[in-house]
Amino acid sequence: MDLRPRSHPTYLAFVVHRVSGLLLALFLPLHFWALGSAISGEAKLEGFLRWTENPLAKAAETVLVILLAAHLAGGLRVLSLEFLGWRKRQKDMVAVSAGAALLVGLLFLLHVV
């Protein structure tokens, strides 16, 4: 694929939105399955939570939080274009949503580490 005509901010925002959406959609059943383990008792849930304390799981959690925040912020931008007709300043909104996603990821890291 020729990347030369695909480098404007709103295109990059689309790529981020699609990749984050795909990964989150694949993660969702896993998430529900893990939470469902709580049905079989507090001990099982506690065991799962202890397992997630390994650094790799924490890193994956941080990535997921950033993906979720990025998909949220990018989605709000798309909704503002589609439902409110905010056609101006789309590029600024891309920048703001990227910043918001990274900020949420940073806050998560600060709280978790």
């Binding site: 005509p5 695909r6 404007h8 709103t10 274009l81 589609e82 056609r87």
Partner: protein, 245 residues
């Protein structure tokens, strides 16, 4: 950017499975990409096929892929797009069948304008008769401003060639046809609103657009087809929700 003494131009020759031919063309001040193509055809290879008419950005016939991007070549100065080494790569427009060399077949593009009901249908005279009186359309009204925002399309197909959704779904109507439909949806004199909204709904229509805004980014007339498509989505959403369809 300082202009190199000569341009190294790669020009697409042949059909879909063609290849690049290379030409060394003298660089001149203020030349457009179309000037370069004309120089090649007149002085190097008279068999080169390309398309142009007005040369002043009105007719929409000279669009090509220049260094990877769809552009109107008659209004594109070489110095704005050429690489530092004088490299210029010219292909026919993407997302369309190649007839030969730099000429793409625009038939699918214009067929989709028809499918999107891109023809104005007078409300007062469905049979094509001349209405008795002039329609009064306040220029400051919201609907007219929406229509005016998209009305200057010259049909050059730059947006269509730049759209990934067209590449992914050959049935997709594309930015230009949908932009045209949106101008007519906002035309108070038009009587085919319902039929047109039906024609532009669904996966082959506005609902496949992902707002990458490549169309808006590339439109040489600075139109905003992406927002027009968003307008169609919005209108169809409320019409569907409120049972107006």
């Amino acid at each position: 950017m300082a202009e190199p003494a000569s341009l190294k131009v790669s020009v697409w020759r042949g059909g879909e499975d063609g290849s690049f031919a290379r030409f060394e063309v003298p660089a001149r001040a203020n030349q457009t990409v179309l000037d370069v193509v004309t120089t090649i055809q007149r002085e190097f290879d008279p068999s080169l096929a390309y398309r142009f008419a007005c040369r002043v950005g009105m007719c929409g016939s000279c669009a090509m892929t220049v260094n990877g991007r769809a552009r109107w070549t008659c209004r594109t100065h070489v110095r704005k797009v050429v690489g530092e080494d004088g490299a210029l790569e010219l292909r026919p427009l993407a997302n369309l069948p190649v007839i030969r060399d730099l000429v793409a077949d625009l038939a699918p593009f214009f067929d989709k304008w028809q499918r999107a009901r891109g023809v104005f249908q007078p409300k007062d005279a469905p049979d094509g008769a001349v209405p008795e009186d002039f329609a009064v359309v306040p220029p400051a009204s919201g609907a007219r401003q929406e229509a005016d925002a998209g009305i200057e399309c010259i049909g050059c197909a730059v947006c269509y060639a730049s759209c990934d959704v067209v590449a992914w779904n050959p049935d997709y109507l594309g930015p230009a046809a949908l932009n045209r439909a949106w101008t007519l949806v906002n035309d108070v004199r038009d009587g085919a609103r319902q039929d047109r909204l039906d024609a532009v709904a669904g996966d082959a229509g506005c609902h496949s657009c992902h707002s990458t805004q490549s169309c808006t980014e590339r439109c040489p007339k600075n139109l905003d087809p992406s927002s027009a498509i968003a307008g169609l989505k919005r209108t169809l959403f409320w019409d569907t929700l409120l049972g107006r369809r």
